[in-house]
Structures are given as C-alpha cells and as structure tokens.
C-alpha cells in the first residue's frame, strides 16, 4: 500500500497493564477521510492516541508518509504534520482564542495566517479576544480544529468532534469537516454519532474490544443493519 499516507500495522497498546489494542492495523490514503467507529471502550481513542505518540504501542509499527513514527514524542510527530484534535478539546482556558491559535502556530513550518483561519471560522474572529474558558462547546470544538488547521497539518485525527454538541452545531461542524475533506485534507475521525460520521467518510473501520472487526465503505455499512447493530448499536 504505497499510496497510504498513514499506515498502522498490528499495534498493541496498553494503559498500565490493561491491554487495549490487539493487533490493530489500518491505513489512511492521501486525501482520504476515514471513520473509526465502535462502541465505548472499543479502543478508538487509544488508537488515535497511539498514532499521536501519547501512548507508545508495545509492538507494531506506525508510518507517516513511509517514515516510522512510533516511539517518537508527540511534539516531533506533530512537527511531521500529524495533528490530534482530542476528545476533551483541551482548549487553554486561561489563554484567549488568538493566543490558543498563536501557540499552535509556533512550531508549524508553514503556518496559516490568522486571517485565513478567521475566514474559515468567522465566529472565532468575533471571539478572538475571549478567554478559552468563556467559549461555548461548539466554539471550543471549532477552535480545537482551527489549531490543527493553522499548523497546516497533513493528517488530522478528530476524536469525537460532535460529542455533547447541539444538533445545529453538529450540522455546522459536519459541513466544516466536509469542506476540509473537499480541500484534500486527510482525516481520521473517531465518532459515536455514526450517522454524522458516515455522512462525510470515504471508508470505515469498526473496532470491537480492541480488534478491527470490519472494514468497508459507508454504503456497505449502512446497507447492513445487522452489522450496525452487532458492533455499534444496542
């Protein structure tokens, strides 16, 4: 698979001595949007954290553009162009919106200008002097994504971008995610909101208890209610 930008091969990850990922393999091609689905505790977040270097897999390999990145500290992985947007968003509440963005841009080789970011997220321009703590959930999520964009990251890892947000905001964010995908950005998205995730993904992996249980297209998954129910539903 030489066309893959991100290749994860048979990784095994642990929290302490708790075995979370079992030989998880997946690939994300250049300009591809891949969704990683599964129930709570299936290992989706751990997969993203392993790719970002926040968890070091005990075995297996991770390659970005052919270069092995597992074992590198997160800041070096980020400098290679891979960016996690974490589930808890991790906005710096004591910093303003603009300071959050400037911080993210500090080490990016080809950072976007603030203006370009604000064109993409007009709402953030209005709020640029507000402290991160004063933002609503949706604004926080926009800022979290904007921090990845301003770094001009090649690969964006989105961890549950829609969690806890009102339907209207989710619709906005789905549109933003579609725009990013249309621009040719490579995205690996983890989401519980299967309907929303399937609306902009090119390909889907389903995780179950730390194993890759299924791989295919959104259409194939939608057309298979039994599969949906077995791995994702109740």
């Amino acid at each position: 698979m030489s066309t893959s930008l991100l290749e994860v091969e048979a990784i095994n990850s642990f929290y302490g001595d708790s075995h979370i990922l079992f030989d998880v393999s997946l690939t994300v091609g250049r300009n591809e949007v891949v969704a990683l689905l599964g129930r709570n505790g299936a290992g989706k977040t751990t997969t993203l954290r392993s790719i970002m270097g926040l968890v070091t897999p005990r075995s297996g390999s991770i390659r970005l553009d052919g270069r092995a990145i597992s074992g590198l500290p997160p800041f070096e992985i980020a400098r290679l162009g891979l960016q996690l947007v974490p589930e808890e968003r991790a906005i710096f509440g004591q910093l303003t919106v603009e300071e959050n963005l400037r911080l993210a841009a500090l080490t990016a080789p080809q950072a976007w200008t603030l203006d370009r970011i604000y064109e993409f997220f007009p709402r953030l321009r209005e709020r640029r002097r507000s402290g991160g703590r004063q933002l609503s959930g949706g604004e926080q999520q926009m800022l979290a994504i904007a921090r990845a964009l301003i770094r001009d990251a090649q690969v964006i890892l989105l961890d549950e971008p829609f969690e806890g947000l009102a339907p209207l905001i989710v619709r906005d964010l789905v549109r933003i995610s579609r725009d990013l995908a249309a621009q040719g950005r490579t995205i690996l998205v983890v989401e519980q909101n299967v309907v929303a995730a399937l609306s902009f993904a090119d390909r889907v992996y389903v995780l179950n208890n730390g194993h890759v249980a299924w791989e295919g297209t959104p259409a194939a998954l939608r057309g298979d209610p039994a599969l949906m129910k077995a791995h994702l539903g109740v």
């Binding site: 926040l54 997160p74 800041f75 980020a78 991790a90 710096f92 910093l95 993210a104 921090r147």
Partner: protein, 291 residues
C-alpha cells in the same frame, strides 16, 4: 498609637520587603505552576545570587557588572540544576521532589560555606545609591528607594516575558496542560528548562539586589524561602499575579505590625496565613481544586 511618620516609613519598608518577596515568590510560583515542583532550593539560590554580587563587587566594584554577570551565572546554575537533577523528578511524587530540591539546597549552602567560610560578607552600596532622600517629612535611604523601583521594573519585565512573548505563551499554556502543549508540536521539556532557569534567575536577582542591605552569609536564604511559601499560599499556588500581590501584602503585614509591636511582626504574617487557610484555602488568586 505610632506616629504618622513612623507608619509612613514602615509602609515604605513594607513596600521594599514586599517587592523582594514578590520577586522571590514569583520565581517559586512559575516553577511550581508549570513544572509542578515545589523548589526547596529556592532560598539557597537567593543566597547564591547575593554571593555572586559579592564576588563581582569585590573584584570590579561595578554594580551593573555584578547584576549582568550574576544573572548569567544564575541562568547557568538553573540550567544545570534542571538538567542534572530536577528533570529526573517530573514523574516522581511531590514528596520526592521536595526532598531532592531540599537536598540540593543543602549542597549549595554547604558548598558556599566551605568555599567562603561562614562569616558575614558585606556588599557595598553602589555610589548612586548612597545617602538618604528626604520625602516630605520622611527621610529614607536612597538605595532602598531605588530598589523599590528596580524590583518593580524587574517584576514588570517578568510580566512582559510571561504575557507578551512566545515563551510566556508556552509557559502559561504549560501551567494548564503541558501534554497538550506537546501535542501542538512544542518541545515541553525545553520549555520546562527555560521556566526553571527563569525562576532561578528571579531568586538570584533578588539576592543580588538585596546583597547591599542584608548581611550576606550562607544561611540567609532559609527564612526567605519560608516567607516566599507564605506568599504563594496567600496569593494562590502557581499564580504570578498572586505572587506579586501576596508579596506586597506580606511585606506590609510584617512592616506595619512592627510599627505597633516589633515582637509580633513575623508572627502576624503566619497568623494571617493560618486565617486565610481556613477562610480561603486556594489563596487570593488560586483556583479551586489545584493542590
């Protein structure tokens, strides 16, 4: 009831002591806030700054050179201490961090004592700081007055570094969530090194500036360390504004109390701290939940 002149003069003394405590405590608090390490060697580093000033003044007689060379020396000491020792302790329990910095403090104090001896050294007041100034009906030593201005300028410079530069941005973000700073491509460990060196510099600078008006000897840092602790308990752990305001409050408590009864000046400081612990345990500027 003490006279107005005495009260006024004590208020000035309080300002001088308060800015000093603010400077020492701000170094302590940015290290604590960012690295999570309570630096028990801070008092020894304060003392080291005073000795640096003593050495340079003794050889060259230049106060400015003392400040510059002393500043560089303190940065080197800070970098060395972080790389050799403190770095190993970021993942260890707080108790271990306290023990190792406490031990480092002993080693610094005893090394100074072994080299310079235990006697008090005196550092001359620079030529432009000699004499006294008349402020209305109050006479005040010139250097002390200038000192208030110099330290205020240093505190403002530290404010600019923390709030107007990239390194300050990284530091403030690191206080909140060091891991996320790393995820955004920033080498947190290097930022930690800078913060530690900056904190050590603040302690050392306080020592250098105050060398002419205190007796310089190896054990001089101990009581300043404890008072700086009191300051950050009052101001709130890890808060820079808290360290500055807490320092000024502490300085005034000590000075104004001694206008009424010298015996109780220090005791009052600790009594206020105890009261604050009961009424507002997170300190004036601290947020709930920080340990």
């Amino acid at each position: 009831m003490p006279s107005t002149a005495l009260l006024l003069s004590q208020a000035f003394n309080g300002l001088a002591l308060g800015t000093l405590l603010a400077l020492v405590a701000s170094g302590l608090t940015i290290i604590l806030g960012t690295l999570g390490v309570l630096n028990f060697a801070h008092g020894a580093l304060f003392m080291l700054g005073a000795y640096a000033m003593y050495v340079v003044m003794a050889h060259t007689g230049s106060w400015l050179l003392g400040l510059l060379a002393g500043g560089v020396f303190m940065l080197v000491v800070g970098v060395a201490l972080e790389r050799v020792l403190v770095r190993l302790f970021y993942q260890r329990p707080h108790e271990d961090q306290i023990l190792v910095t406490f031990g480092a403090g002993i080693v610094i104090v005893e090394a100074v004592r072994a080299y310079f001896g235990g006697n008090t050294k005196s550092v001359p007041t620079p030529s432009w700081g000699q004499g006294i100034v008349r402020l209305g009906f109050l006479f005040y030593p010139t250097y002390r007055l200038e000192l208030i201005g110099i330290v205020a300028a240093l505190l403002f410079a530290l404010y600019l570094v923390l709030y107007r530069t990239s390194i300050g941005l990284v530091v403030r973000a690191g206080i909140e969530d060091a891991r996320m700073v790393g995820v955004l491509g920033i080498n947190v460990r290097r930022a930690f090194l800078a913060v530690f060196a900056l904190g050590v510099l603040a302690a050392g600078a306080a020592g250098m500036l105050y060398a002419p008006i205190v007796s310089v000897q190896p054990d001089m840092g101990g009581s300043f360390l404890v008072e700086a602790f009191v300051v950050i308990v009052i101001g709130g752990l890890g808060s820079y504004p808290g360290a500055v305001v807490g320092g000024l409050i502490a300085g005034e408590i000590v000075s104004l109390t001694s206008a009424f009864n010298t015996a109780y000046s220090e005791v009052m400081l600790y009594a206020v701290m105890a009261l604050l612990l009961v009424l507002r345990p997170q300190g004036l500027f601290g947020s709930e939940g920080r340990v």
